[in-house]
Assembly symmetry: C2
Homo-oligomer: 328 residues x 2
């Protein structure tokens, strides 16, 4: 099979041509230029599909988007980092179908980006047989980056819920009395443990003028502290940054515990920029899970790193197009 | 069909004979006498099945248990309120099969009690077509009582996970820095919002000697404050108790928000003793959900009361035996 996967991100648009085993045959990248609004962004998606389709026949197309999407209706609901996309929804699949003119010969599938990455890691990545050493059927994926996204595979199928909105794991509240979240709620996993949250904690320390490598690295400017500054300072042994990474790992461990208790998966796959800190994050995360998990779950799951990197969502769009997950 | 459903509780053993539509044809109750240990409790289960089977043919038997259970293997893992049941597990289904002597003619199904109640409310109760006015496929059930239990229906099937341990929704952490939980973790939904947690908050106020109806009702003894005392004092207008019910509703709302973001269900069914407080609980819970839910989810779900009462788990054991959910 020849499948096209399109990963619509807030800054870049990535398209791949792949076979049903996730082998990438061609690749295409352009800036999203999201500020130009939905019509121009959709133009770029259609153009990219056209370029990728030139090389040969197309059997299916999958598109992933950075926000709530109804895969059954093919509608995208105002992704926060795509300005101008209305909250009431854009019928992306219908528009693409009309403009591509393939009719019913080529199936079109819509999927949320974190769900896509979950499906990709399950099908081709950390959850696949070649990495796990066995076939698994239940997986939880978390990407911990500027925000936190999630996706869940239950008995081999993507968890979608009634409207395809399920698995918004970054907006599970882990501190009922916690920090305000960008979603309007407070204490969400994302508000407490994302890279943005980690940067906020680092900035508070720099602003307090406590001696820390983070201040040197950010030129004394709290606004210049990002998650990378915190993790690099910790890597160099800065005590304040180390304490923050310990806290970050604890909070990630709380999230992992929650999703193990919720889904009883065989594997939890962690991806996203914050996980590049490696053991600084994974050690306290694992220790937290170890101390908070209920006895019956011990030995039933593994916590592993994502392996597909920045192509995971595009590969997930391919996987969604192959399996039919994400549409009806 | 003639199905027997056995609800093994910490204090009572309830057995019913029902048809596949959940119509109860006979009923049997005895005390569990859990302190006598697993062998005697299993004797009582076998005896009860024998009594219920006397009236006519039996097609299937479902048993629900108050703790972690592997429905695929038929094993019960040391339920906290069944003393003497080992953590390494009791092969309840195999034992029952051997002792009943039905061979393969009668299927035996094991299910966790909260999962059973979820399945019952979905099949015969608040989530059924006659109550919802439409067919639904996605439901979250929460029972808020001494502890908090949960069960989830996804696309018409019970969420079980890899070992049947999924949906331990009472042990999703909603306050990473919160109170110790009986499970060993801290800040679990159960530790923060169960009837036991509500009683703890009431007891703290009574112990502080602030004037409150709760003190009068408990004879000034903090140990005599239970969830019912708090809710009855609130019903009578006691300001301290009203504030606690407001907090309780907020915390329940946090949990409901989490599970809507996780599962995107069409309905959230709330049962258990604490929900008998009615509007005192539901009003702040709904207000919290309203303010914390993400825009895309608005109008996609309802929050309703459970309708099956204390027979829900036994009916769920029947439903599990009918659908095959809870075994393989």
């Amino acid at each position: 099979m020849n499948i096209i996967g399109i990963d619509l991100g807030g800054t870049k648009l990535l398209g791949i041509r792949a076979d049903e085993d996730g082998k990438v045959l061609a690749e295409d990248r352009v800036p999203t230029l999201a500020h130009e609004g939905p019509d121009r962004v959709i133009d770029r998606i259609i153009d990219m599909i056209g370029r990728l389709a030139k090389a040969g026949p197309v059997d299916a197309i999958g598109i992933d988007v950075p926000g709530p999407a109804d895969p059954f209706k093919g509608i995208v609901y105002g992704p926060p980092n795509l300005p101008g996309w209305p909250e009431k929804g854009v019928h992306l699949l219908q528009i693409a179908k009309d403009r591509l003119g393939y009719g019913d010969k080529v199936s079109l599938t819509l999927v949320n980006d974190a769900n896509a990455s979950a499906l990709a890691e399950y099908s081709y990545g950390a959850g696949a047989e070649k990495f796990m050493g066995k076939k698994i059927r239940h997986l939880v994926f978390l990407t911990i980056s500027t925000g936190i996204g999630g996706g869940v595979i239950i008995d081999g199928k993507l968890l979608l819920g009634a409207n395809g909105f399920a698995a918004e794991l970054g907006h599970v509240i882990i501190d009922a009395f916690g920090y305000r979240c960008s979603c309007g709620s407070a204490g969400c996993f994302e508000a407490m443990a994302s890279g943005t949250a980690l940067a906020r904690e680092g900035a508070l320390i720099v602003a307090s003028r406590r001696p820390t490598l983070m201040a040197d690295m950010a030129g004394g400017d709290p606004d210049k502290v990002d998650a990378k500054v915190v993790s690099e300072a910790a890597q160099k042994g800065d005590p304040a940054a180390l304490a923050l990474m310990e806290r970050e790992g604890m909070l990630v461990g709380v999230g992992v515990t929650n999703f193990v208790h919720t889904f009883n998966p065989e594997v939890v796959v962690l991806g996203g920029g914050v996980t590049h800190a490696g053991d600084l994050l994974f050690k306290p995360a694992r220790a937290t899970v170890e101390s908070r998990i209920m006895p019956a779950y011990r030995g039933t799951f593994e916590i592993v790193s994502a392996v597909l990197g920045d192509k995971s969502a595009a590969l997930g769009a391919v996987a969604a197009a192959v399996t039919g997950d994400g549409r009806r």
